[in-house]
């Protein structure tokens, strides 16, 4: 089994996915180990909630397993497809938050939050996530892919299936909208004290 896992180590994502579709669970293990940390990080940055981020990650990969038998290697990269699915799942969750007053959102459980620095960090991440929830969805998506994931514009265009010009416009407008929303929470962010 170790030998089989080792043979998949350098295989492209799409090859692993196709091997999984043929019944190879070793390929699924290698692919999961490769993409799950990235998906979980993306979801955590957008949602600022560990439990929700884990649910989204599991859901995104469930969709990948489902589509595996029909995957066409020439269509898209697995990572691009996962960025898109994860971002859309996060946007859905952020949309649901819009209808809930901010003070009613439960604080996620975090056993290590006692340190003041961590509390400050958590407040910043929550403020960012709440602000993304209040933005128009496509702006939030573009801003998160550009500024949280650090993707270059051509890849964002591919993930969102839009033109480069639209990406530039969405990220610029999105960043301004984010700043407007965060105006009232500047003190909460506490950067002036840093």
């Amino acid at each position: 089994m170790t030998t089989q896992l080792g043979s998949w180590r350098d295989a492209p994502d799409a090859a692993l996915l196709l091997a999984y579709a043929q019944g190879d669970m070793d390929a699924a293990r290698v692919l999961t180990a490769r993409v799950l940390p990235r998906i979980l990080a993306q979801a955590t940055r957008m949602l600022s909630d560990q439990a929700e981020a884990e649910d989204v990650s599991q859901d995104a990969l469930m969709r990948l397993w489902k589509i595996a038998p029909d995957w066409r290697q020439d269509e898209a990269q697995v990572t691009t497809w996962l960025y898109r699915v994860t971002a859309n799942l996060c946007t859905d969750r952020l949309r649901k938050r819009r209808n809930v007053p901010l003070d009613e959102i439960a604080e996620p459980a975090d056993p290590q939050r006692s340190a003041p620095g961590q509390i400050q960090d958590k407040a910043r991440y929550s403020a960012l996530s709440d602000a993304l929830a209040q933005m128009p969805e496509r702006q939030a998506l573009a801003v998160s892919l550009r500024h949280l994931e650090g993707l270059p514009n051509p890849e964002i265009a591919e993930v969102m299936d839009i033109s480069l010009r639209s990406v530039e416009s969405l990220t610029a407008r999105g960043k301004r909208a984010l700043m407007d929303i965060l105006q009232g929470r500047k003190a909460e962010l506490g950067y002036d004290d840093d």
Binding site: E149, G150, L178
Partner: protein, 116 residues
Amino acid sequence: MTKSDDDIIDALFAQARTQSPAVPDDLMARVLADAADMLVQPVAAPKPRLWPTFLDLIGGWPSVGGLAMAGVAGIWVGIAPPASVATWTADLIGSPVSIDLLGDTSDYFAEGLLDG
């Protein structure tokens, strides 16, 4: 010195990008369990159905319409053949002819049977 809005937002983005939580073991296990559940078993190829195969052979529904039309026309010609058809068949195969295979011997056999 107070930071500008741009500085604040860029600092916030930079800090948010550092979030890379370790994947919990139970999440990895759940994802792999999903993968095992979703694994598609090879499915036997469906048996070809006769009617669609036949349709493909003859060229689809338009051909079926043509066949039906030809069938109806054939029945009609059989029931009420136009005069030209009767003439044409007579020319082709000639007039009907009766042949008596037994000829005059029939009387002989009839008499023999009666006489015992």
